[in-house]
């Protein structure tokens, strides 16, 4: 079974630049999540999609972060403009339905200089 795919794996940008991450969930998984994991901390939810609708984006810094899940499959997460404190690993996960077991991708490690 193919897992959750993410790209790129690493990204280095300067502050105030823009960056985008891509995620392809496991086929058939209706729920998709984006988490931010800062070094030394556990993952923190940024946004949860059910198909192509947003279930929870209460912790998404909407002034600079945006995410979309067109057609209820792939998803992109964008940061514009980036700040130093955005340096983290961005994890994408998917599950058959919300509240169930989540399968995680390898993550994108973002460094903002």
């Amino acid at each position: 079974e193919a897992g959750v795919a993410q790209s790129p794996r690493y990204k280095i940008i300067e502050k105030r630049q823009s960056v985008a991450f891509w995620c392809n969930p496991i086929s058939g998984h209706a729920t998709l999540y984006w988490y931010q994991q800062i070094l030394g901390q556990g993952p923190k939810l940024l946004i949860q999609f059910q198909n192509n609708g947003v279930v929870d984006d209460s912790q998404l810094p909407k002034d600079r972060f945006s995410a979309e899940r067109l057609k209820g499959v792939d998803s992109t997460l964008k940061i514009q403009p980036a700040k130093l404190e955005d340096s983290a690993v961005y994890l994408c996960a998917s599950s058959l339905e919300g509240g169930g077991r989540e399968f995680f991708g390898p993550g994108t490690r973002l460094t903002v200089l």
Binding site: G40, G42, P43, K44, Q48, L91, F104
Partner: protein
């Protein structure tokens, strides 16, 4: 809002020692409980989960965890650790039932097993 506390941030053990990692959560309703593991250079993987039923759950690689509702705890145990268990361990919880929410993670425990 739910929260998860992991009290041990860094644990160092010798091979064959017994392991217990603490996890306490704060949430008033029905919860699902998880332990995820992240081996060096790998992505997060499910170790075990509790949804309902027998509060003692067994996972992969000889790990088990016990849900104690009265203590809001879900501690992870293994009777004899191996060098290959060196990893970071995360306890997580989500609202069960109709909540269908995402996971709330603890801050993680880094386990180092010395040969």
């Amino acid at each position: 809002a739910q929260s998860v506390s992991q009290h041990n941030h860094h644990v160092i053990l010798s091979e064959a020692a017994s392991l217990e990692l603490g996890c306490n959560y704060s949430y008033g309703g029905t919860v699902n409980l998880f332990w995820y593991v992240q081996y060096p250079g790998q992505h997060l993987q499910l170790l075990l989960k509790y949804f309902s039923g027998d509060p003692l759950v067994k996972g992969i690689k000889g790990f088990e965890a016990e849900f104690i509702k009265s203590k809001f705890s879900f501690n992870l145990r293994k009777p004899s650790v191996q060098w290959s268990d060196t990893a970071e361990y995360f306890c997580a919880v989500n609202a069960g039932g109709a909540g269908r929410r995402a996971l709330t993670f603890g801050s993680g425990t880094r386990l180092q097993v010395q040969p």
